[in-house]
């Protein structure tokens, strides 16, 4: 699949179960609204859809998967790549994990968690527990054994309420690191302390961890984390806090081979940042890393994995880096890989996948993951500071023609960068129609007309011309930019195309040295819109690339941060989307289906909204 330049999304995935008061997790919670078919093997040609008959379940076998690149490291604390996160699902575990089918968070390394709210009293005290709001007072029911009567606080003694103020995790007692050492609360505490060490290279995620104000070990398998503010995605922080084995990473730990009790924070950070285990990974997942070369990454099933019910079926998995998607198809045909999620459109629809030889061994299909393409306008620069111009440009382009001709129909228009199959996406928001006449009218209203008869619109003696930045070699970007150029030329707007390599393009966007840029967002299930749309993020080096500022949107974003009620949060998210779409800081594009080809011997292939769109751990082989 052609690669879009991806500036990846901020924010954490939201929780759907944050009812008021005290909550104890006991497995998966009520499913969120997830659209789309994720039934097993739905594209498999041998599937008897009526009977849903599947081959018998058995463990064993090996497969090779295509990866466009291997990660720099397998330590997700310091490597922020999507490939690292995908691999972590197989080779590591966190306190909580997200179910790929319901999208809910569920216990992983913990048996359960206890969530408490807190009253912050005017005298500085905090009372944790389940809160009950009454007309004259608040009641706090503590979760501690023998706590006695609930604490009663008059309303005027309460400064503020923190929802999700504390989480207490009870860890499993049967978890082993891949080197056989037992996992415990010390490992999690050590990792959390690392996130507080400014020299540890986890800066990309530190903004998430920083929301935890304190952590305590209450016992060998009990941990408590506290938050100072209500944050709708507080539990999801623990999905990203992936523990490191203290006995291998902590220089101050007596079990460490280079034990140094006096090691400084800086020395410890350097040790962590450059540790050999960042590649020779020792994790907690159902697969352990056996080889990590420049040619492949090999995983073997870890027999002592703690969750036998979700321990994977395949004995060995190899990830093979192939940067070129056409070469990946050749490798598939040669039997060197079993799966590629990056089929080119011309191969998906073309003869390469229609031959008898191909169909005998493989089949194809597609699925959508949360990627939304867009053209970001630089609102700091004229004429993009005029909403009529931005709306005109949106009306000028025929997305449906692009979807039909370039994507073969396997793409859908989006009106926001939220996950378009997730609960917060506003499906009712209709995309702006292709209407060149309306576009011309809007441009004329904003003063852009052809005064000198040269075929180009002009205003104040200046012609309407701008440059669109596109990542070099990106076929989607090239197709879009060429068609847009034609559409705009017909209107009298001159657009030049500037192809840049990713570092150069990224730099220009960060420094706001651009008129327009073709980009894409890869979104988490629930995203925090603050970095993209809040006016405080206007400036260089921030995520508000368009330099968008709107007081109403700011207010809604601020509200979202502390809104735990799912329905209310969805309402606010929809309001934000509608307002942003109305003001068109982006020319919203499409969500493109990932086209895959897979060996027919692999069964139980299901597609998910959650990146990467499938769960290798569930795959099994027929023979």
């Amino acid at each position: 699949m052609p690669r879009l330049p991806t500036l990846l999304a901020f924010g954490l995935c939201a929780l759907t179960h944050l009812a008021a008061g005290l909550a104890r997790a006991q497995g998966s919670l009520a499913p969120a609204q997830v659209r789309g078919d994720s039934s097993p093997d739905r594209f498999h040609p041998d599937l008897d859809a009526s009977a849903r008959a599947h081959p018998p379940e058995r463990r064993g076998g090996s497969i090779v998967l295509h990866a466009d690149a291997l990660p720099q490291s397998l330590n997700y604390l310091i490597d922020n790549s999507s490939m690292c996160r995908r691999l972590q699902r197989e080779v590591h575990a966190a306190l909580v994990e997200r179910d790929p089918w319901t999208l809910e968070l569920r216990p992983s390394l913990c048996v359960s968690w206890l969530r408490e709210d807190a009253l912050v009293l005017r005298d500085g005290q905090r009372r944790y527990g389940a809160l009950e709001e009454h007309a004259e007072h608040w009641l706090v029911r503590s979760s501690e054994a023998g706590a006695g009567e609930p604490f009663k606080a008059p309303r005027d003694s309460v400064e503020r309420v923190i929802r999700g103020a504390a989480y207490t995790f009870e860890l499993r007692d049967d978890v082993l690191w891949h080197d056989g050492q037992p996992f415990g609360a010390d490992d999690v505490m050590f990792t959390w302390e690392l996130t507080r060490n400014p020299a540890v290279a986890c800066d990309s995620k530190r903004f998430q961890y920083a929301r935890i104000s304190s952590a305590r070990k209450l016992g060998p398998r009990t941990l408590r984390f506290e938050f100072d503010e209500t944050y709708y995605a507080s539990l999801a922080v623990f999905e990203a806090l992936t523990p490191l084995p203290r006995h291998l990473y902590d220089l101050r730990d007596p079990r460490h081979p280079e034990h140094d009790p006096q090691a400084s924070d800086e020395a410890l950070a350097r040790h962590v940042n450059s540790h050999r285990c960042n590649r020779e990974w020792i994790g907690l997942g159902p697969y352990r890393v056996t080889q990590f070369t420049n040619e492949f990454l090999e995983l073997q099933r870890f027999e002592r994995y703690y969750n036998a019910a979700n321990a994977g079926w395949l004995e060995r998995i190899r990830f093979r880096p192939i940067a070129d998607d056409r070469a990946a198809l050749a490798a598939l045909l040669a039997g060197e890989i079993d799966f590629t999620p990056r089929l080119l459109s011309e191969d998906y629809f073309g003869p390469a996948t229609r031959s008898d030889e191909f169909r005998e061994r493989f089949y194809t299909g597609y699925f959508y993951t949360p990627i939304a393409s867009y053209i970001g306008w630089n609102l700091r620069r004229a004429p993009f500071d005029d909403v009529r111009v931005r709306r005109a440009l949106a009306h000028a382009f025929d997305w449906d023609e692009l979807i039909a001709s370039f994507y073969g129909g396997l793409a859908r228009r989006v009106t926001a960068e939220w996950v378009d199959t997730g609960p917060d996406y506003d499906e009712t928001l209709a995309p702006l129609a292709h209407d060149p006449a309306l576009a011309a009218k809007l441009l004329a209203q904003s003063g852009w007309i052809d005064r000198d008869g040269d075929g180009r619109l002009d205003k104040d003696g200046k012609a309407f011309e701008f440059a669109l930045l596109v990542q070099a070699g990106n076929k989607s970007g090239e197709a879009l930019s060429q068609r847009l150029q034609e559409s705009l030329r017909a209107l009298g707007v001159s657009m030049s195309i500037e192809s840049l390599d990713w570092p150069s393009l990224s730099r220009k966007v960060e420094q706001r040295e651009f008129d327009a840029a073709a980009l894409a967002w890869v979104m988490p299930v629930d995203s925090d819109p603050a970095q993209r749309w809040h006016s405080r993020e206007v400036g260089t080096g921030t995520g508000n690339y368009a330099s968008f500022a709107d007081a109403q949107v700011d207010a809604w974003i601020d509200q979202v941060q502390s809104t735990l009620d799912r329905a209310e949060r969805t309402r606010l998210m929809h309001a934000i989307q509608a307002r942003v779409y109305e003001l068109q800081p982006y020319l919203y594009g499409v969500s493109v289906a990932k086209r895959f080809a897979i060996s027919k011997r692999i069964r139980n292939f299901r597609t998910s909204v959650l990146d990467p769109g499938y769960a290798v751990r569930e795959w099994r082989l027929t023979e």
Binding site: L8, A199, D203, R279, A323, P503, S506, G543
Partner: protein, 350 residues
């Protein structure tokens, strides 16, 4: 001779110095910030990263320092980073570093990876391929070139010359793609088209592993060999033709020397002299000439390392690759001069 050799050897360090300095200056003007790239990725972009973290990363890797300081740090022998000696304003955690201290540093995006170690790993792939390619090129090009010169009027020579011209004219990457399509899985399916090993490659399987590696090396080697073979063969042809036109060949013929003896004793030794120069100049190609082919065939060799390093703004990686390539270039030229002086007494090292 010895003095001349020493003089030539003494010229290598300043040459390398100049080349690396030019490389550094060129990298300086490249747009793109390694610090920003370091913090991009899932869940965040530099936008979510505290500016102080970016500043710390830049300071730690001297990215906020002027070109001359970064260059001296790369050159060594003293570590000019914040961990360097106290008398240079550092924390005293390390004293030596840089090329002169035998330390090429670590990658920016993979801090646990030593550039020198990675170069060795990459050379383990590129060097054997290059040596095989060089042997095949010279093993075939010399007799082919001689044949083309000696039988230049024959139809076989004309056909062969045309084929060589075609090989010489086509770009290497295009030939690679054609070979992939023809002999790879989409075509005849004879050879592997991606990487150097098959799906279940295991070095412990001895012969099977070697055969698998060989099958995967055929197409990359063919892509590299074909244009170079054409070039060297045509050079050989010209050289032999030049010698055949010489007065001393005419004199030898006049003395009644047989064609075979003339060829072996007089023509070939003289015709080989320029080819020796060419062979010496091939040395840098052994490490630097594989960028495109390694990228097309997804071979994790040194050429791909340099290319990926450039794309990721890994200045240390690019500088190290350029340095190694420059070193091979300088040594190649020296060796070819030495060989030429040895073959032709009239040539003197200056």
């Amino acid at each position: 001779m010895a003095r001349a050799l020493l003089r030539r050897l003494a010229l290598i360090p300043p040459t390398l110095l100049g080349i690396t300095l030019v490389c550094f200056a060129l990298l300086e003007v490249l747009p793109g910030d390694p610090a920003s790239l370091r913090f991009e990725g899932e869940g965040a972009s530099p936008a979510t990263v505290d500016e102080s973290a970016l500043a710390r990363f830049r300071a730690e890797h001297l990215l906020d320092q002027p070109l001359w300081k970064r260059y001296l740090h790369f050159l060594g022998p003293f570590d000019l980073s914040p961990q360097g000696p106290t008398w240079l304003g550092g924390k005293g955690e390390s004293t030596f570093g840089g090329v002169l201290a035998g330390d090429l540093g670590h990658e920016l995006l993979r801090p646990s990876v030593s550039i020198a170690d990675e170069l060795v790993e990459r050379l383990k792939i590129t060097l054997p391929l290059s040596l095989v390619a060089a042997l095949v090129i010279y093993g075939l090009a010399l007799p082919i070139g001689a044949f083309l010169a000696l039988r230049r009027a024959s139809w076989a020579a004309r056909v062969l010359d045309g084929v060589l011209f075609a090989f010489y004219a086509v770009p290497g990457f295009w030939l690679a793609l054609v070979l992939q399509a023809t002999f790879g899985a989409g075509g005849l399916g004879w050879f592997g088209v991606v990487g150097l090993h098959g799906r279940d490659a295991d070095p412990e399987r001895g012969l099977e592993y070697a055969l698998d590696t060989a099958a995967h090396a055929v197409l990359p080697l063919a892509s590299v060999i074909a244009p170079s073979l054409a070039y060297v063969a045509r050079q050989m042809r010209s050289s032999v033709l030049g010698v055949l036109d010489s007065d001393f060949v005419l004199a030898a013929r006049a003395r009644g020397l047989s064609e075979g003896a003339l060829l072996v004793r007089h023509v070939l030794p003289n015709a080989l002299t320029p080819l020796v120069t060419l062979a010496g100049q091939t040395l840098p190609w052994l490490v630097g000439g594989w960028v495109v082919i390694e990228t097309v065939f997804e071979l994790p060799g040194m050429g791909k390392y340099a290319y990926d390093g450039l794309m990721r703004r890994e200045f240390g990686v690019v500088s190290a690759c350029v340095l190694l390539s420059a070193l091979f270039t300088a040594l190649g030229h020296l060796l070819s001069d030495l060989a030429q002086a040895w073959l032709d007494p009239r040539v003197r090292l200056g």
